[in-house]
Structure formats: C-alpha cells, structure tokens
C-alpha cells in the first residue's frame, strides 16, 4: 500500500464498488474528497470576514450502456457509501444481482507542484497582515483611490479515486491565492483595476509575490482608466500582451477541443484532426503537469495522471482533450482531462493549463510594427459557443496603439470573434511568455485553470466599444 492515510479504507472501497456493480453495470467508480479552506476578505480598510470551511464526501458513478448514474453522500460510513452506491446503480436494472468482486491495486502518483509551507501551518494573523499591507499600499497610490478590497484564500483538497477496473489512487492538491481590487473616482466616474495571483503551492508563494506591488499595480490601472477614452467600435489589429491573453485560446479553441463537444459534433473542430486550423505560428498545449501553475494536478478527478497534450502543432490540429468515459467508448486512453468541481459533481472534459508556445519576435517590435490598433495588457474573461466558434472576451486594461506606440488608455469592452477565423489571423508571435489564472465555468461547474501565451498580434478583431474605429 503506497497511499498513506487514505480517506476510506481500501477494503470498504472494494466492497462498495462491488455493490455498485450488482445491478448489472459494467463500470463503477468511487471519488472521495476532503477539502478544507480558509478565506479572508478585507474591504473598506477592514478585515471583514474570515471563513473556514470543511467539505468531505463521496461521489459514486455507475455506467451501464449509454447511461451514467451518479449519487453522492457526506456520510462516509460503510452504510452511507452503500446507500449512495445503490442510488447510483438504480440506472442499471438488467443485472441478475449476482455478487461481484473488485480487487484494487494502489497506484501512487507524484503531484508536480511541491508545497513548501502548507497554508494550514501559517497563523491566521500572518495571512491577515498580507491584506493590510496591500490595502495601505493601494491607498498610498493617490487620493483618487476611493476603495480597496483584497482577498486571501487557501485550500487543501485530498482525493481518493478507485474504480472497478482495479484503479486505486490519491492526490493532495494545495492552492493559495491573493487578489486585490481598487476603485478610482474622478470627474469621469468610477474605474476599477485588479491583480490576482494564484499557485498550486503553499504560503511560500508570497516569497515571490509582493502584495504591495500587486496592490500598487491595481491602483495604477484604476487611476489610469479615469482618463480612458471609449474603446473603438469596429475591426482593428489587436496586440495581446503575454499572460492573460491565454484566455483567448481557452475560449477560441480550448472548449471546442473538449471531447464531449467533439463526440456530439457540437464543435467547429469536430472531424478536423490533421487539418490546418490556425496560423502556422500557433502551437497550443494543454498541460496539467506544470509545477505550481493554477490548473496543475497530480491526477485528474477520474484518477488518471495528468500529462502534456499538444492540441495544435504549428497550426495543425493534432488531438482533442479526453476524459476517461469518452476515451473508453472511443477505444483510446484518457488524456487526464476528466475534472469535477467537487464530490457533488459528475466529472467531464476540462482544461488544465492551456497555453500557446512562444515564437521568435521581440515583443516591443510587435507594437512598433503596428501603425494603429489596440494593445491589450489584460483580459478579464470570456465565453464561447463551441458549435459556432463565436466567442467574446473582455479587456480590463487596454490602450490605443498609434504610430507603433502604446498611447492612451481605453475603457473596458468585450472583443468578439470566431475561433477558427481569429486563430488564422495571428500574424506575429513574440518570444516572451507568461501565465495567468482563471476559474472556468462549464455546465454549472467551476474549476481552476491556468492560461498562458506570449505577446502576439491578431490582424483584425471586432472591438465592442462605443467610439468610431
């Protein structure tokens, strides 16, 4: 046995899985989760709330033919697990009720993110102090800073996953996150700026993260936007600075490369492996193994080791992302992309860390070679319709480019495009690179993901502002 301190005794897991198979199902899985979290919020210069949470439970999934049954419980006794197994197995009624057995073989997986200082070892007062420092730093940025809020959170999530194929594995996932938001007030109204940092490491994150500097940067963005002019309305070249522009790939093609959309032919990328789907400058990877990044996991939520998957290689579509169930039906291996928000949710295909590999251009040159356009320093989020490929993403810090120079700040607006169209219009890719963090929502479930990209230019994107282009 290589799994230390299991959430549930493996003999109990074996009996529960055997029970779940009795009504004739061909596959059963047990997902146990124990999550403890701390979050602290500061607002209006006051530490308003310190929350501690504990969630522990088990979800049982049963597959019979085309149908999946799922039930979960917070009762971890063998009786509680048996009830959940019965409820999940209710979808399969073809079985003879004969006794089944499951023999588990433990498989240990190393999580790529190394935790130096577990957040639970750090005093609450130390965490609170980070927020106070951020608040003072932001407020010292100028009298026009009207409001500051800051948040700290950490979570430790232990999972144990076993299935009727004999898999038994476990992972421990730690996340630490800091966010600061500033509101600046002036004659033109109110404007906001924020910074967020998150890693799958412990409290040592703050050795490399200067919360005061993050706060000053957030304040500077809000102050700068007070003099922002309305964003243009129409099609312009857009230069995306390294980092948060990764959201473009997450929306423009990431979701469309998830196997559930592919299998249902609900993606513009279905049936297109081997085709040129993007500019040859585009090599896109989804990689759950990058130590410390926000979407990194040892195993996915179906117990499969995460891996580095090349999705688009020099513009050519090479593969989709797969969860276990869909991979199994298709007769291939999971790509380690089966994830779920918690034990209360069914797993589905999700991204981990999705990023574009760097190119060769000097990022400053990309701006210098753009006579007129928009320079986006930070994107804030987006949404896609995978079937049509149409997607939006919002700029939260952007500037005009005039005569090859970054000039005036622009007010926030959404950009809109079509995935395959935008990917084909990427005409320069820089040699720099950065990652950013996000929370991806799909079918009502939220999971942490990483995004990344080098500075790059899209030759034409529709900018949803109110001013003339």
């Amino acid at each position: 046995m290589t799994i230390t301190d299991p959430l549930i005794d493996s003999a109990v897991v074996e009996r529960t899985l055997a029970l779940a198979l009795r009504s004739g199902a061909e596959f059963a899985e047990l997902f146990a989760e124990d999550r403890s979290s701390t979050s602290i919020s500061l607002d209006d210069s006051k530490v308003e709330e310190l929350c501690s949470g504990r969630d522990r439970g088990v979800g049982i999934r049963v597959v019979a033919g085309e149908t999946t049954g799922y039930a979960h419980t917070a009762d971890l006794s063998e009786r509680g697990l048996a009830d959940a197994a019965d409820a999940a197995a209710a979808i399969a009624r073809s079985g003879t009720g004969e006794k089944r057995t499951v023999a588990l073989e433990a498989r240990a997986v190393r999580n790529p993110s190394e935790v130096g200082t577990p957040p639970s070892d750090v005093a609450k007062a130390t965490k609170v102090e980070l927020l106070r420092r951020a608040d003072s730093a932001a407020r010292s940025a100028g009298g026009a800073i009207a409001q500051v809020s800051a948040g700290y959170s950490d979570a430790r999530r232990r999972v144990l996953i076993a299935n009727s194929d004999g898999l038994l594995t476990a992972d421990e996932q730690t996340r630490t996150r800091f966010v600061v938001q500033c509101v600046a007030s002036g004659d033109t109204g109110l404007q906001t700026g924020y910074q967020v940092v998150g890693k799958t490491i412990g409290f040592e994150m703050f050795e490399a993260t200067d919360v005061e500097e993050e706060a000053r940067n957030a304040a500077a963005v809000a102050l700068g936007k007070l003099s922002a002019r309305p964003a243009p309305s129409g099609v312009l070249p857009v230069v995306l600075e390294k980092g948060s522009g990764g959201i473009l790939f997450h929306e423009a093609c990431g979701h469309g490369l998830e196997a559930d959309a592919i299998v249902k032919e609900a993606s513009v990328y279905a049936g297109r492996v081997g085709d040129l789907v993007a500019s040859p400058l585009v090599t896109l990877v989804d990689d759950g193994t990058v130590g410390g990044e926000w979407g990194t996991l040892g195993i996915d939520d179906e117990g499969h080791q995460t891996q580095r998957n090349v999705l688009i290689d020099k513009g050519v579509l090479t593969d989709y992302m797969w969860d276990f169930l869909r991979a199994r039906k298709t007769g291939r291996d999971s790509s380690g992309n089966g994830r779920r928000q918690s034990y209360q949710h069914l797993p589905m295909v999700r991204m981990t860390n999705t990023y574009l590999l760097p190119g060769e251009e000097d990022p400053d040159e990309i701006v210098a070679q753009t006579p007129y356009g928009v320079y986006v320093r930070k994107l804030g989020g987006g949404q896609v319709d995978t079937a049509t490929g149409d997607f939006v993403f919002g700029m939260v810090e952007a500037y005009l480019i005039e005569d090859g120079r970054v000039t005036e700040p622009l007010r926030d607006a959404n950009l809109i495009g079509n995935g395959p169209d935008i990917l084909g219009k990427i005409d320069v890719v820089g040699r720099d690179f950065d990652m950013c963090i996000g929370t991806c929502g799909k079918d009502g479930q939220q999971v942490p993901v990483g995004c990344g990209q080098p500075t790059l230019r899209v030759s034409g994107v529709t900018i949803g502002g109110t001013a003339g282009a």
Binding site: V47, E66, Y70, A231
Partner: protein, 447 residues
C-alpha cells in the same frame, strides 16, 4: 432529516455573554437527468446538508461552515467561527440581524408533489424533451442538451439576537440546447421552462421555443458597425436588470463602488422606467419568505418614474448607511455568508406587445441572446459591452439574422435611453423578470 430549526437553535443557544451567534442550517435534494440520442445519458441525485455559523464578538465577525449536522462537528465549527472573529477588524457596523417585527408572508413555493414524483417520470420528461426537440424541425442537426432538473431546499436560521426563521421551496426545470443547420452553417438555440413541480413543465413548449430560436438565426451574417435602436428579448432584459440590481446594492453604494452612489432623488432613467424588488410576489421565480439573515422579505421601490428611490440593504450595509435592512441578504446555503443581493426584480410593464414595439422602432437590432456579461459589464463604472446574436429590425418587423456582433453603451445611458417596455412579462429562472425592452440607441460593432 432532523428538524433544521432545532439544530440551528441549539448552536445559537451556545452563545456566551457579549457574543452574538447565528446558525444557518440548510438541506437540499437535487436531481439532474440528461437525455441524449434517445437514451438517458446521466442521472444524478444528490442530497446535501450542513451548517454555517457566524459569530460577532466585540464588533468583530467570524464565519465557519461544514457539510455535516453532527454535534461534534457543530461544536468545532462554532469554535472555528469564534477564533476567526478574533482576526477581523473591529467594526461598529458588524452585527447580526435583530428581529424587526415584520411577519413573513406565506408563499406557495413548496410543492409536496415534487417529492412524490417518481424518478422514472423525470427521465421520461427528459426523453420526451429530447425527442420533441430533435423532431422539431428537419434542420435540427443535433440536440446537445435535453435536461430535467429539480431541487428541494429547506433552510433554518436561528440567532442569539432572537431570529428564528425557516423557509423552503421547490423548483424544477426543463432545458434544451440544439444545433440547426440548413447548409449555411450551424446556429444554436436554447430554451427552458421552470416551475415549482414537474406537472407545471411542458416539454412541447420548451422544445418548440428552443428550435425556433435556432432556426430563426440560420443564415446569420456579421453586419457592418453602426449606432442603432436595440430591442431586448425578455430574457436578455432579465440579465440586464440583474446587473442593474447589483449596482443598487446599498453596500457597494456606501463603499463608493456604484455609479448610483449619491444619486437618490435624481433622475437616473427614462420616466417610463420603474423598478422594484419584490420577493413577496408568489409569481416571481426568486420569491422567498425570509432573507439570508432570517428577516421577512419585503417590497422595495428602487426606481420610481425614472427617479432613484432606494437601495437594497442587509443588516451590515444598513448600519453602514445609517438606515434599516430591506431584508435583501442573499446567501448560497450553509457554505456562504449573507451578502446584499436582489432575488425578484420587476420593472413596471407597459401595454405594448412585442410586435407593436418593433413597428414603432422601425429599424434597429433585436437581441435574442447576449454573451460575456461577466467580462464586459461593470456595475462599478457602468461600462456595458456584450456579444450578441439576434435579428435586424427593418420596416418595423423582423429582417435578417445577425451574429458575432457586440452591443455597447453604459448602464447609465441605457437607463436614460429606455424608449419602450412591453406588456409581455415572462417569469424566468433568474433574480429578475423578463419583458421586452427597447433602448433608443446603442453602438453595434460588427464587420
């Protein structure tokens, strides 16, 4: 299930001198069925329960929760909330709700029929919806989602300040998402129906509406950018009202985080625009008897004939602003702390039908759906920019479908530019009602 209020009382009763303790205990049971290609793709059933405890001691607030009603766990949660309170900043406004004498209204929002409805009939509803959606039009190429969902929810709140309240409600939904193609490219359509018990759901209506919304976009193109009048589909209006409700949070206003701050008594909208928050309206999807702090929900006038008349407050925001709570605390079950929010926003409907509004507008854009609200709308600055799909209005009627455009303005300007409100109220599963709404001018960005 143990009596939730007994559990809450027991925890609140552990308060010691000088301390306030509030316990929120909630239970829910949810079912989700998805049909695909004539089969049940998945059937999930879930029961969830737990406690959330707030402690105020020396004007400091702490919170902790756990997904269990176990007595030992409850003691740990209370201890953790007490410990957490010691790290908060002393804040004279931090306090739990005090009973204010307002009696909760009795609302018919719980149906025993849901509990008695057999699982097999829930799967039949999903299968029927999928079949009808697929058969709704020869151009339907795929039905990606055909779902039945329901939820039964009970919550009890008790506090050492004298609050004792319970609420419960049932909800159920059907929703369908499909892809249509006529050779000009894919278009997607989505629709839903909601009710308190499954008998209120009609798969035929949901299927027909979802199909209609997809096929009417077939052949959509990306039009040239222009400034034009915009007519919002009732469901889009509900989304817009939700964002406006966020900016009407008394907490954000008091903290200088809303463009409505300091504008009470001023004209903030067209004179035809009146907005209330009324969770006591039994027809409202978000109807509720008590708020997240256990106070009786009540009607709040927010905008009256275009003039800003009020904000939404929970206990803390009210103390911060020197007023009383409007019972507008919302909380997401036992895991969340209460915060200011709307649950049943309603505009005063007009009398015109949608056809009449289109005729009066003459030419413009009818917006069927919007995308990227979370990334393109700020309730702080009021900046508004969202992706949209819809149909051009020409000669006072529906013309060519359009896609891949954005519509932009600011919330401040949009409220002033409201030129017509329909009489076609639609009760949508959201914190606001739906109704056709016309805005005099917005910037549409396209090709």
């Amino acid at each position: 299930v143990p009596e939730l209020l007994d559990v809450a009382r027991r925890i609140a009763g552990a308060a010691v001198a000088g301390e306030q303790v509030e316990a929120c205990v909630s239970w829910s049971r949810d079912t989700h069925v998805r049909a695909y290609d004539g089969d049940i793709e998945s059937l999930s059933s879930a029961e969830s329960l737990g406690i959330g405890v707030r402690v105020v001691n020396g004007n400091r607030l702490g919170f902790a929760y756990a997904g269990s009603l176990d007595e030992e766990v409850a003691r740990e949660v209370l201890a953790e909330a007490r410990d957490n309170a010691t790290f908060a900043t002393e804040d004279e406004h931090a306090a739990l709700a005090d009973p204010d004498g307002v009696e909760p209204v009795r609302l018919p929002i719980w149906r025993d029929e849901l509990g008695a409805f057999p699982a097999a009939r829930k799967t039949e509803l999903a299968l029927d919806l999928e079949r009808r959606t697929r058969a709704g039009d020869p151009r339907v190429r795929q039905v990606t989602e055909a779902d039945y969902e329901d939820s039964a929810y009970e919550m009890a709140i008790a506090s050492s300040t004298g609050i004792e309240a319970t609420t419960r409600r049932t909800r159920c939904y059907l929703s369908a998402h499909l892809i249509a193609d006529d050779g000009t490219g894919d278009q997607t359509g989505y629709s839903y129906g909601a009710g308190r018990s499954p008998e209120e759901l009609d798969p035929a209506t949901v299927a027909a509406d979802a199909v209609h919304r997809a096929v009417r976009l077939l052949g959509a193109r990306k039009p040239a950018s222009s400034r034009l009048p915009v007519v919002l589909d009732p469901r889009v209006t509900a989304t817009l009202l939700g964002v406006i409700g966020r900016a009407l949070s008394g907490e954000d206003v008091a903290k200088g985080r809303s463009f409505f701050a300091g504008r009470i008594g001023e004209p903030v909208a067209s004179s035809c625009f009146a907005l209330v928050e009324d969770p006591t309206d039994p027809e409202a999807f978000g109807a509720g008897a008590i708020d997240g702090e256990g106070l009786a929900c009540r009607r709040v006038v927010l905008v009256d004939k275009g003039t800003l008349a009020g904000f939404l407050y929970d206990t803390k925001a009210a103390r911060l602003a020197g007023t009383v709570s409007t019972a507008s605390a919302v909380r997401g079950g036992f895991r969340g702390t209460p915060g200011v929010g709307a649950r049943a926003l309603a505009v005063e409907p007009g009398t015109a039908g949608q056809d009449e509004i289109l005729r009066n507008i003459g030419s413009g854009l009818y917006v069927q759906s919007v995308h990227g609200v979370h990334s393109g709308v700020s309730h702080v600055s009021g900046d508004f920019s969202v992706g949209a799909r819809g149909i051009m209005i020409s000669d006072g009627a529906f013309g060519e479908p359009v896609r891949e455009v954005t519509i932009a303005s600011s919330l401040q300007k949009m409220l002033q530019d409201v030129v017509a409100i329909g009489g076609d109220v639609e009760r949508v599963p959201s914190s606001a009602m739906g109704v056709t709404l016309a805005i005099g001018e917005m910037a549409m960005s396209g090709a």
